[in-house]
Each structure stands twice: as structure tokens, then as C-alpha cells.
Symmetry: C2
Subunit: 351 residues, 2 copies
């Protein structure tokens, strides 16, 4: 590999001149620049990343922190990752995948102090997350994808759950639905204060009130069978329900299957809207799921932009939150509410 020295010699200039045409940090006459560029081309010169990093103390690499052990990544998370990676690349950065969950402080300590990474993107953020505290005290630049309980002084990019729930409920109400179930994350998540679970719960209650309709919230596991259990429970608690909102796409498929097996037709008898859903999964269902499509790629890209902005100095507001709502994609599982026999008494619907 040709080095900067080789280029300098060939162009008849000093190494520093070569360096400066590369970084653009100081004015160079057009003539010499051309000579240098030409020499580079002829030699097939490519700056050495390590040397550059050592001298400049910047690697142009950001780390993406996410728990990886065991658990498979969902489509939404995957979209995050690809979005972030693409955005980084377009800005001339690289992205390193770092299997570091909320509790893995030792791993993170090493990562953050070995000087390999310019900053961090933090995924799967818990309400209290040791990674956040650590990065803060080490003062490494970072931005959260998600939110902790207290976001003071933090840069966050997250899904706008409030808006998403409101939009979903509005969609159902607009179709005439007056009794809606919300199938949330598990009660364990809820008890653990998991942000999305908590936020959507509150938002759901607010939406019910705002629209003057009734509803129930049922927590459940994020699996197809969890969805089945949940919808049964919901229909028991609220027999007149005609609309259901589901937090999890896996659960959504379970719900669809269970309704079908109960002799209920979707969307004629019951409408189902799935939240934070990826397009692939939505299309897997029959009929395809009406869903609040999660802006995974956009979020990843946004987070990356925010991080890179901080790295480039123009720090801006330290407490900065960017919220992106999921967007409603009406597909086959939502439709007009069936006329109800009576506001008070439930429709048949065998179980």
C-alpha cells in the first residue's frame, strides 16, 4: 500500500500538503492540489484509517449498542439497524454492531474507553438503563433510540406512541367503532415500567376519553398464543367490542387466528389494527393487517443524524427529543363497525 509519503514524493510536495488536500483544512493552490490528486490516483492511494484515527482522535465509527444474546431481532429493530447503517455510510461513517444490553456495563466501559468509537447509538433502552449513566459519566457522545424515565439532558429519538395510539383509535372511531380493546405488552413489561407499554396505556385511556368511547386494556405476551389468550379475555370483559388495537405484531396474528376460529370475520365482525408493525409481517397475515407501520428505517437514520451532528461539534440542545409517529396503513383488517343490536347488550359471537 502506498503511503502519504509516496504520494508526497511523487507530487513533489510535503506530506503535510498531501494531508491538507485530503482534509481540506487549509487552502491549497489549485495547481498543487491537482498534482497531489493525480499522484494519489496513479498510486491508488488510500489513507490508512488507523493512522488517521490515531493522529486525529476520531475513527469515524459509531457503535450501535443492542442486546443480542439469544433473542432474535424483530423486523422493526432490524429496520432500525439498517436505517442507521445506511445513514452513517452516507455521512462517511461506519457502524459497529456492539452486543451490549442495558446491564452490560463492563463491556461498554471497555468499548467507550478504548477510543475506537466516536459515539454511540443506544437501542432497546430501558426506563433506567445503566448504559446511559455510564456513557454520561464517561462523557461519550450518544443518542438513545427510545427513552429512559428521565430524559433530561439526553438526546432521544423515539416512536411517538401517544400520537400513534391516537391515530389508531381515531381510525377505528372514524369507522364507527365504539368499544375497543387494546392488547398491550405483557404485564411484566408494564410492571417493569417499560416505556412503550406504559406510554401507550396512558395514551389509550386518554383517547378513549377524548372520543367518549369504551374499551379495555389487556396485557399479553408478545406471541401468537399470547394474542389468542388476550382476545378471548378482552371479549369476555367487553363482549360488545368491535375494534382491537394490538401492540405486537406476533400477537396480532394470534388474534386474527383466534377470531377466525371463533367464527368471527375480520373486518366485518371485528376490526384489528396492529401497532408498531413492519410491512413484511403485515402482509403475512390474511387478510393483510391494517397497521401503524413503525418508522424503523427513518428512526435509525434520524438517530444517526442527531449523533453525527453532535460529533461534528454544532452540539445544539443537549436535551433533544425527536418523536416520529407510526403511519397508518389501511389494509384488510379494518372496516366499518357492524351495526350493534343494542348499546348495552352484547352481540352473539360464540366462543
Amino acid at each position: 500500500m502506498a503511503t502519504m509519503h509516496d504520494v508526497a514524493r511523487r507530487a513533489g510536495v510535503s506530506v503535510s500538503t498531501v494531508s491538507y488536500v485530503l482534509t481540506g483544512t487549509r487552502p491549497i493552490s489549485a495547481a498543487t492540489r491537482d498534482r497531489v490528486l493525480e499522484a494519489m490516483a496513479e498510486l491508488g492511494y488510500q489513507p490508512n484509517a488507523m493512522a488517521r484515527g490515531l493522529a486525529s482522535r476520531r475513527s469515524n465509527i459509531v457503535g450501535l449498542l443492542l442486546p443480542l444474546t439469544g433473542r432474535a431481532l424483530g423486523a422493526t429493530e432490524t429496520a432500525f439497524v439498517t436505517g442507521a447503517t445506511e445513514a452513517a455510510r452516507q455521512a462517511g461513517y461506519h457502524l459497529m454492531l456492539c452486543p451490549v444490553g442495558p446491564g452490560d456495563t463492563d463491556e461498554l466501559q471497555v468499548l467507550a474507553t478504548q477510543g475506537l468509537l466516536d459515539g454511540f447509538l443506544v437501542m432497546e433502552v430501558g426506563l433506567t438503563d445503566q448504559r446511559v449513566d455510564l456513557l454520561r459519566t464517561l462523557d461519550s457522545p450518544f443518542v438513545l433510540i427510545g427513552r429512559t424515565a428521565d430524559t433530561d439532558g439526553l438526546a432521544c429519538v423515539d416512536i411517538d406512541f401517544e400520537q400513534t395510539v391516537e391515530d389508531a383509535v381515531a381510525h377505528l372511531v372514524g369507522l364507527g367503532h365504539q368499544a375497543i380493546a387494546y392488547v398491550n405488552h405483557s404485564s411484566a413489561s408494564l410492571a417493569g415500567g417499560y416505556g412503550p407499554a406504559k406510554r401507550t396505556e396512558l395514551a389509550f385511556e386518554a383517547a378513549l376519553e377524548r372520543h367518549g368511547i369504551t374499551g379495555v386494556m389487556v396485557p399479553t405476551e408478545d406471541t401468537a398464543s399470547g394474542g389468542r389468550a388476550a382476545i378471548r379475555q378482552a371479549r369476555e370483559q367487553c363482549p360488545e367490542l368491535t375494534g382491537v388495537l394490538v401492540m405486537n405484531e406476533n400477537a396480532a396474528l394470534g388474534i386474527l387466528a383466534d377470531l377466525r376460529e371463533s367464527g368471527l370475520e375480520v373486518p366485518y365482525d371485528v376490526s384489528v389494527v396492529s401497532m408498531v408493525t413492519s410491512e413484511v409481517v403485515a402482509d403475512l397475515a390474511s387478510p393483510p393487517l391494517t397497521a401503524m407501520t413503525s418508522p424503523g428505517t427513518a428512526l435509525g437514520a434520524a438517530a444517526t443524524r442527531v449523533l453525527l451532528d453532535r460529533l461534528t461539534g454544532d452540539a445544539g440542545d443537549p436535551t433533544y427529543t425527536e418523536l416520529v409517529p407510526c403511519v397508518l396503513d389501511v389494509r384488510g383488517t379494518s372496516g366499518p363497525a357492524r351495526p350493534r343490536t343494542r348499546p348495552t347488550k352484547a352481540a352473539p359471537g360464540r366462543r
Copy 2:
């Protein structure tokens, strides 16, 4: 940040001694080693990755090459990535995500010559893949996840498609099925010589012959609606079929839906086995898919191990191929073949 110098001074030794206790490249007396270690601990010393990389010409980072633009990663590919990442970390390596598809030679050229990466994992390998040629001429260490047409002198880790198809067919035959459809990738893939499509096609024919049964192969798009179209076509071409093998999980769900809507019950009327399928998607279906679970994580890990072995010098066979079959997970979509009225004439099954 404390440097090696600080540690050396504090421990009363030379820098090289500190370096050697770190790398273990030469014997150090227990006494001095302890003093050095202690000094490190007291200072919270962490070696600087860039400096180390520059001096040693090894970054301990491997690049994972995969096309990323637009297309969402499937569950299987995602498992690859996480498997590779985990395996790398356990070996003290990092993994960089590099959005580099089969044609992106310019990007790769830069990546491979800037000296940031010790080696490459290449995903989504085409039958002819420019990345392979380039890496070869640059002689960067690399291993393929997948296979090119000519694997001579290459290290590959791939799914054992032949074995997988054979296992799947054997499962169906064991259940009494005598007429089987294989829903493959699209005809475009097939025409383009896409490895998995080609290999499974051949393997399917071989399996039919070996077991002395009949069958049809139908190419289709990797979507739910593609699956629907495919199963209709298959039943038309081969009305007596009772078993179907599907290459793609999305198509599998479409097939299930279409069969259901055609009044056919799975697995009583028709058994469905999905190949190269992830557990999440399998469980999304109702009933859950009997599937040949793709060994995504294992493959990623295996590929990483092979690459790291080459990096560590003990090169071994340059032409090395490791094939891992998918493993059969019997769930709810396969069962005994229904007794046939006649070997020649088809069963009713309205459409």
C-alpha cells in the same frame, strides 16, 4: 485517559514490559506482571485501539458485507448477523456492518484498502459476485456465507440445501405422502442461477426419484400472494398432491391462507413444510408451521470462526466448505397423508 507510559512509570517498568504483559508475547515474571496489572487497575488503563492497530497492523475488526439498500432483512439473515456478531465478540473481535452488495466494488475497494478491517464475511453471495473477485485480488481474508458458482480456493459456509430438501421430503414420504409440490423461489431467481433456488430444484428432483414419488416444482415470488398463486397452480398441475414444500416463509403463509380459503384443512388434507424458516415466523402461522429451521445463528458463528482461524494464521485448506443443514421442526402443518380414493384420479377439493 491513562496511556501505557503512565502504567509503566507507575509500575516502575518499561513500556515494552507493559506491552508484553498485555499481549503475552514474551515471558514476564509473576512479580512484575502483578505490579503492572495492579498499576493498570489503579489507573483504569485501557489500551488504545487505534494505536494498537496502527502498530500491529491488526484491528480485530471484521467487516460483514451485505446489501442493505431498500430491502428489509429477513429473519434468517438477521440471525446470521447476530450469530456472527456474537461469535466475533466472544473471540475478542468486533463486527462492522458494511452495506456492500455484489456490485458495489468501489465501496469495497476502499474498505479493503484503508486497513480498518482484518477480514470480511460476505453475505448474500451471488453465483458470480464481484466482491469475491475483488477481495481475492486484494488478497484480503474472507469467507462466504453462501456459495459462488465456482468455489475453488474459497472458504464457504452455507446451508446444506441438498440435505435439507432430502430431509423434508423424507419427512413427508414418511407420513405417507406420494405427490408433493415444491414451491421454489421465483423463476427470475432460477433463471439468474441463484444458488439456493437451483440447488433445491435439483435436490427435489433427486429426492422424488429416490423415493419413487411424483411431484411438481412451481417457482413463485417470495410473498404471501406469491404463495397463493403457486399453490393454486400446483394443485392444478397435480390435483392429487397432499404435500407441499415451500422455499420461502412468506409464501408459506400465503399457501396456508389459500388452502384454508379453498376449504382444505392443514394438515388433514394437505401437509405443508416450510424450508429455511425462522422460528418466529413459524410460530406466527396457525397452525404453526412445520419447518426446516434455518441455522442462521449457527451459520453466522461458523463463518466467523472460519474467518478468524484464517486470520490467526493457521490457514488450513484454502478451499474449505462447511455445510449446515436446516433442522426439521415438526409443528402443526404436517401430518399423515389422507387416504387417497385412487392413485390416478384426484380428490375433490373445491376451488
